[in-house]
């Protein structure tokens, strides 16, 4: 490996990219436009039927209360409910068995009878902001209805016992809902907060793949590859030069998208941005090498375009970007775990939404690294094949 020769190639690629103003504009402004439209369209949309886990009151006299709660719950088509124990809350939410948990004090009936104003706690899983906000609304409404029903029951009981009804209707509601607790994210999260990290990865992968395959195809159709291969430049240096040139470029693109997402769209994130870039680099290097590899199967630019639905459409649909991999039919799920974007998606979401650290996303990084090495191997083979 000769650094000067690799640098020569890297410089040339950067010059070529900068010279092509239209592509440059597309690559930098396109993602921002797409992100902005998604932001407008997707903010506040909701997904499938959410599930609420209930930690029910269990003490004396709670049967009537539970019947009342069940009567007030929205119909099953709008909300599924399950009953769990108090110590199961975090496990159930983290496993994705429920989107939120509503915790009633176990001695609710006794405390109500004593005239106290017990507090209910709502715990939201929070990584899908649209589900979290829908849950918040549903539960607030539920508690409101519960208060009305309890107040009625109390006044009826009071009249039956011959007491005077309270002078003014209950000044404070019987039950209060404490500020909801979020396992991940927070009340300001929107759907875009969940989508933005993934886009940083997907966009650099996509554009780098497209640009490299076209650049390499041109190198072949212009005949410059012959000149380059007849020179002292080694095949490995050729691949390295391409990787450096396009990875640098993709990193600049990722920075622009990230800054736009954080400062203009004001998407929330936690976690280490260094890890975000690490994932972006792994994806980019894979993209460059996949581009070199696939370009040898294309005779012209149009045939490169034909790879897009195959390579990208498939990945975007199956990698859990828009719906979780767990929701796919079970026979499709193994396929998802062969796709690099699945791992990138998991890693980026974990870092940006849950603040995961390096060790927590190590398995995903390892999968991405393996894919990258596979692609480097394939592209090195293709470059060798150029010499019959």
């Amino acid at each position: 490996m000769n650094g000067a020769r690799i640098l020569a190639l890297t410089t040339r690629i950067m010059q070529q990219i900068v010279r092509d103003r239209r592509t440059l504009a597309l690559v930098f402004l396109g993602p921002l436009l797409v992100m902005s439209i998604l932001y407008v369209v997707l903010t506040g949309s909701s997904g499938s039927v959410p599930t609420l886990a209930l930690v029910r009151p269990t003490g004396a006299g709670s049967e009537t209360l539970n019947t009342l709660i069940d009567r007030l719950l929205p119909p099953g088509s709008r909300l599924k409910t399950i009953t769990i124990l108090p110590d199961e809350v975090e496990t159930v939410l983290n496993k994705g068995e429920a989107d939120a948990a509503l915790i009633f004090p176990s001695d609710l009936a006794t405390r109500l009878a004593r005239g106290e104003h017990p507090t209910l706690q709502l715990v939201l899983e929070g990584s899908d902001p649209s589900v979290a906000s829908a849950m918040r609304e549903t539960v607030t409404a539920l508690v409101g209805q519960l208060n009305v029903a309890l107040a009625q029951a109390q006044s009826q009981r009071g009249q039956a016992q011959g007491q005077l009804p309270p002078v003014n209707a209950p000044a404070a509601p019987l039950l209060t809902l404490a500020t909801p607790r979020y396992l991940h994210g927070g009340p300001d999260y929107t759907f875009n907060d969940a989508l933005a990290p993934v886009f940083i990865g997907v966009l650099s992968f996509f554009f780098v793949f497209l640009l490299t395959s076209v650049a390499f195809l041109r190198e072949r159709s212009q005949g410059t590859i012959e000149r380059v291969l007849a020179s002292p430049l080694r095949r490995g240096e050729l691949v390295m030069g391409y990787v450096c040139g396009f990875t640098l470029f993709a990193l600049v693109q990722s920075v622009v998208v990230l800054l736009f997402v954080i400062f203009v769209l004001r998407v929330h994130y936690q976690g280490n941005l260094g890890l975000v870039f690490l994932v972006a680099i792994l994806l980019t290097v894979s993209g460059v090498n996949m581009g070199i590899f696939l370009s040898t199967f294309a005779q012209n630019e149009f045939q490169i375009i034909q790879f897009i639905p195959l390579v990208f459409g498939l990945q975007v649909l199956l990698s859990g970007i828009f719906w979780p991999v767990a929701q796919l039919p079970s026979w499709l799920q193994p396929l998802s775990y062969l796709l690099p974007l699945t791992y990138a998606n998991e890693a980026l979401r974990d870092v940006m939404l849950k603040g995961s650290d390096f060790t927590q996303i190590a398995p995903q990084l390892a999968a991405l690294l393996a894919f990258m090495l596979l692609m480097i191997g394939l592209s090195a083979l293709t470059v060798r094949r150029q010499v019959a």
């Binding site: 000067a4 020569a8 070529q16 010279r19 212009q222 000149r227 007849a230 010499v387």
Partner: protein, 262 residues
């Protein structure tokens, strides 16, 4: 239009007359096609060797083998004393492809700079060499224009410059004058003659038979075989004609008679 003398890196040059290229029984098969069919050829240092033959006779394949881009199916090819393909001598060879293989989105200077750099030239030496060769092919005024805006002749001149910018000892020029107007063609051949005087060995392919007369020796190639090889005068005398086209047809007919009797 001055060419500076060659630099120290090429100092292990064999003496004039010592073969620079030796091909023995070279066969190249692509699929079912036998592109080169037992070709024997020796080219001495300091020659301007012309490869003449119709389209599909194997000229480009031979060039690509000499450039180390293709491995012969059988036989041996030695260039500068090394068995090809050998990346170690890549820097001593300049290869001008048939297509004017250039980066159309870069300027002429950027193209030259890239090829210089991958051949290991750097810094001031590189810039000086680039200016020199731009002057030489008369592109100084257009050096910073994007090659996509160049005319065919300009591209061809730049393509030649890219092949020679690193001062190779052996220049492989594959049909350098295709699509070039007569005036520029003459300028190209004048340049080749000057390069040759400065010690560069040139292998040039052409199917312009009138250009053949300017070569020191010629090889007539047909169906992957060398029909005849010698100085233009020898070839004309043996065929009993003073027209290169007639001579070529004479040797082709002789080869056909040989095939029939064999």
């Amino acid at each position: 239009m001055a060419e500076s003398s060659r630099t120290g890196s090429n100092s292990r040059a064999p003496g004039v007359g010592e073969p620079l290229v030796v091909c023995e029984e070279v066969v190249k098969v692509f699929g079912k096609l036998r592109v080169l069919d037992g070709l024997n050829l020796t080219i001495g240092a300091g020659e301007t060797f012309g490869l003449v033959g119709p389209n599909g006779s194997g000229k480009t394949t031979l060039m690509r083998i000499l450039a180390g881009l293709v491995r012969p199916t059988a036989g041996s090819v030695r260039v500068l004393g090394r068995r090809m393909p050998d990346p170690a001598i890549a820097a001593s060879i300049g290869y001008m492809t048939q297509l004017s293989a250039l980066y159309l989105d870069l300027t002429a200077r950027e193209n030259l700079r890239f090829f210089c750099s991958i051949y290991g030239l750097r810094g001031r030496e590189r810039e000086q060499r680039i200016n020199e060769i731009l002057e030489r092919v008369e592109l100084s005024a257009s050096a910073d224009r994007v090659v996509g805006t160049f005319s065919g002749g300009m591209r061809q001149r730049l393509s030649l410059a890219c092949a020679l910018v690193h001062r190779p000892r052996l220049a492989l020029l594959d049909e350098p004058t295709v699509g070039v107007d007569p005036e520029l063609r003459r300028a190209f051949w004048d340049y080749f003659a000057q390069l040759n005087r400065e010690g560069t060995t040139i292998v040039v392919s052409t199917h312009h038979l009138d250009e053949a007369a300017r070569c020191s020796r010629l090889g007539l190639l047909r169906f992957g075989k060398l029909l005849a090889c010698g100085t233009p005068q020898e070839l004309l005398a043996e065929a009993g004609t003073n027209d290169m086209e007639t001579a070529f047809l004479h040797y082709a007919a002789r080869e056909r008679r040989k095939e029939v009797t064999a």
